[in-house]
């Protein structure tokens, strides 16, 4: 299948995934990948991040987002990997990859997938600090705005 969705607690090997994706997408010409990494807080205060998700709905939402991208652009292949559970600073949280005959389609669709999954896939991030403070990460207005921009196009 040309859509590959994985929701997992385990780490993934970004390089191995990108290589496998590019190989599977042969003939596509343009391959774009995006990777999101856990950023530390100021003064190295972050002990870890916890990502909660909604099993079942997560996979459905990511599949819908990927299908929408494939309808909207001429794509050979889409990959989304998203982790949940406890993640340390610098851990890779997620990745998307797109392959297309056209570079603009590969870029735009990867950007689109990110905007959609940020605000429409059921994941919630919590920051746990060394000092014991715990904060749920707030959704950003700019993320909703980015999403709205795709609807206008």
């Amino acid at each position: 299948m040309s859509i590959d969705i994985r929701v997992q607690s385990a780490a993934f090997d970004l390089g191995a995934e990108v290589n496998a994706f590019a190989t599977a997408a042969q003939g596509a010409g343009a391959v774009v990948s995006f990777t999101g990494v856990v950023r530390d807080l100021p003064e190295r205060a972050l002990a870890h991040m916890e990502i909660e998700h909604y099993p079942g709905m997560t996979e459905k939402a990511l599949s819908q987002i990927a299908k929408e991208a494939m309808e909207r652009w001429h794509l050979a292949r889409v990959l989304i990997i998203h982790r949940y559970g406890v993640l340390a600073p610098d851990a890779q949280i997620m990745m998307v990859a797109t392959a297309s005959p056209h570079r603009k389609a590969a870029f735009e669709s990867a950007d689109f997938l990110m905007d959609y999954l940020k605000s429409r896939a059921p994941f919630w991030k919590k920051e746990v600090r060394y000092d014991g403070r715990v904060d749920w990460v707030d959704a950003k207005d700019e993320d909703e705005a980015a999403l709205a921009a795709w609807k206008k196009r």
Binding site: Y54, M57, F123
Partner: protein, 82 residues
């Protein structure tokens, strides 16, 4: 009977990740009104609906969405994936 699920800070503040409640609500919004009667914690959690998202059978929906024969209704804050 309706199966209700909570995620993230809603789960923490309601104090459970799921509960089954007796409700004859026909929309998500009506169910919210019923839920607010359950406890003070429930009432507080649902006091600002702009901070709450809902899913019926794992599909994101608006508050006026019918719940008809839904198996599972979930409430959670805006998502923060990626």
């Amino acid at each position: 009977m309706v199966e209700v699920r909570y995620f993230a800070w809603l789960r923490e503040r309601v104090g459970t990740d799921r509960e089954t409640i007796d409700s004859s609500a026909s929309t998500v919004g009506e169910l919210v009104s019923d839920l607010r009667q359950q406890s003070e914690a429930h009432d507080l959690v649902f006091s600002d609906l702009s901070a709450i998202r809902a899913a019926v059978d794992q599909e994101l929906v608006d508050m006026d969405h019918p719940i008809a024969n839904a198996r599972e209704i979930a409430f959670f804050p805006p998502m923060t994936g990626g």
